[in-house]
Amino acid sequence: MSNDTSILETTNLTKHFGGVTALDRVNLTLKEGEILGLIGPNGAGKTTFINVVTGLDKPSSGMIAYRSRAITGAPAYRIARAGLARTFQVTKPFRHLSVLENVAVGAMFGAQGASRSTRAAFEKAEQVLVFLEMKEKTKWSAERLTIADLKRLELAKALAMDPQVLLLDEVMAGLHGSEVLEAMDLLRQIHASGVTLLVVEHVMKAIMGLSHRIVVLEFGQKIAEGTPAEIVENPKVIAAYLGNRYAKPKETV
């Protein structure tokens, strides 16, 4: 499934906001074809990581390489067109446009947007909405959608961009049990179609079930990396989530 070619690689990636270090020398490698989970307590820097990698925020220092080419500091639209799409944790629909138009905008300007007519972009958008089972809401104004549907719209916009790498920022937050299972199934299908996934998620059932590997951030630093089984046993991770008291017994192992 995944091979060892890196598709996205950060070297000492650092981001300061004034006196706060949101990312602190993060070295992270995303291998082509894998599903990488990115977890960490609130404020660990997960969203900042996605913002910086996609060019929406400029890194303070460090390097970002996509398919071995440096994209550090490149404009966000170029990175998007190169094949990196992301979703927003705090959803950002184009409110006065319909659901279909929202998704069509992704198809117009994403990786294959340049070679696509407006009409073809609408056709692509319809396919994506059928795949995500939102067909009956295509004509709705985006501002009418519930939070769960807005999350799904985020995913639809990103998929319409024909990404090679999809960076998902908490698409499952707020979903209940059976919806989480559905969403996991969707993500597996997207992955099977050849898209490399970086998944930021607090829903542990989802992240443990989906990820091949997991990277853990805390206060902007990478504190652990490994398979889901290794991560749940890692004392640093347990300390980060539950406090040192719960981690201590494990340290003797």
């Binding site: 969203t47 913002n51 996609t54 060019g55 929406l56 404009p75 966000a76 639209y77 998007a80 067109r81 799409a85 992301r86 927003f88 944790q89 705090v90 950002k92 629909p93 184009f94 409110r95 006065h96 446009l97 319909s98 279909l100 138009e101 069509a104 905008v105 992704g106 117009m108 300007f109 994403g110 990786a111 947007g113 407006t118 009409r119 972009a121 609408f122 295509t138 004509k139 104004s141 916009k157 961009m161 920022d169």
Partner: protein
Amino acid sequence: MTRPSAGDATRGEKIVYFIAIAGLLGAIAFPFTAPSGFWLRTFTFVFMAAILAQGWNFIGGYTGYASFGNVAFFGLGAYVTGILMTKAHFDFLPSMAAGGIFCAIFAGLIGLPLLRLKGHYFAVATLGVAVAVREIVSGWDSLTGGGIGLNLPINPDPNSFRQIYFFMLAALTLSILVTYLLARSKIGYAWIAIRENEYAARAVGINTTLYKTLAFALTGLFIGLAGGIYAYYNTTIAPDSLFDITAYTANPILIVIIGGGGTVLGPVIGAFVFQILSTYLSFQFPGLQFTFLGLAMILVIIFMPQGALEYLTGRRVFGLAALLQAPRENRA
């Protein structure tokens, strides 16, 4: 309801097109019905108001950047036309075209830095540019005639008012056509995406700087053309009358608000309502017309903040309500 996909006209849209084409044919035929000079001029100024509003619509209505500097494009379009006609002895049409193109380039150049600002900051910065341009024009005596201004060659056409009417109609038709074609293209969707959420627009691959600058250049182009035609109509151009912020910045914005921004025909409908109403009021209640206009404005804002077009058709458009919302929080 929003349109299902680009190019598929709904029944309502077909009716609107039919009315638009009938309106255009009527406007072409109108001067040949031997109307009084009053009505010919009234409609000439309706068209001019509509061009100014349509010009603002690109940057304000579609792209969501409330420019308050459009008066600068009007004045510069008039002055470039006037200078080329008096100093270089060009004919009117090439002078007017040069005025429009000059304003498009000028708008693009000031847009590159200014369009990095948002909301009120952009509005105030563009207003500052307008004031600066007026001062430069007033002070550059050798080129612009300073505070006294320039006298353009008199239009030799015996039907000069009719000719001006057709120039305004042609420029307006062109502005509507360009808006119509771009609104349903990728460019139009890029503008709307920027207006709705610029941060998300960048994330889906939109080169926001490019599309914002393009919108502002089109704003400059059409307002500059209107300024050039106005200069030829008025034959005298002076800084005080041409850089009138109420007439050429505030009124066009109000017109777009009345009609509905980010729509193809909203600014035209708004211009008809506004211009006819203000002409009527200034005759019936000389001196009080602004009181009534202010009152009308308050009523529009209270009862149809989304603009007349949405109020009448029920279709979602981007109107005043959205412009008045607090600046969008773009960060996660």
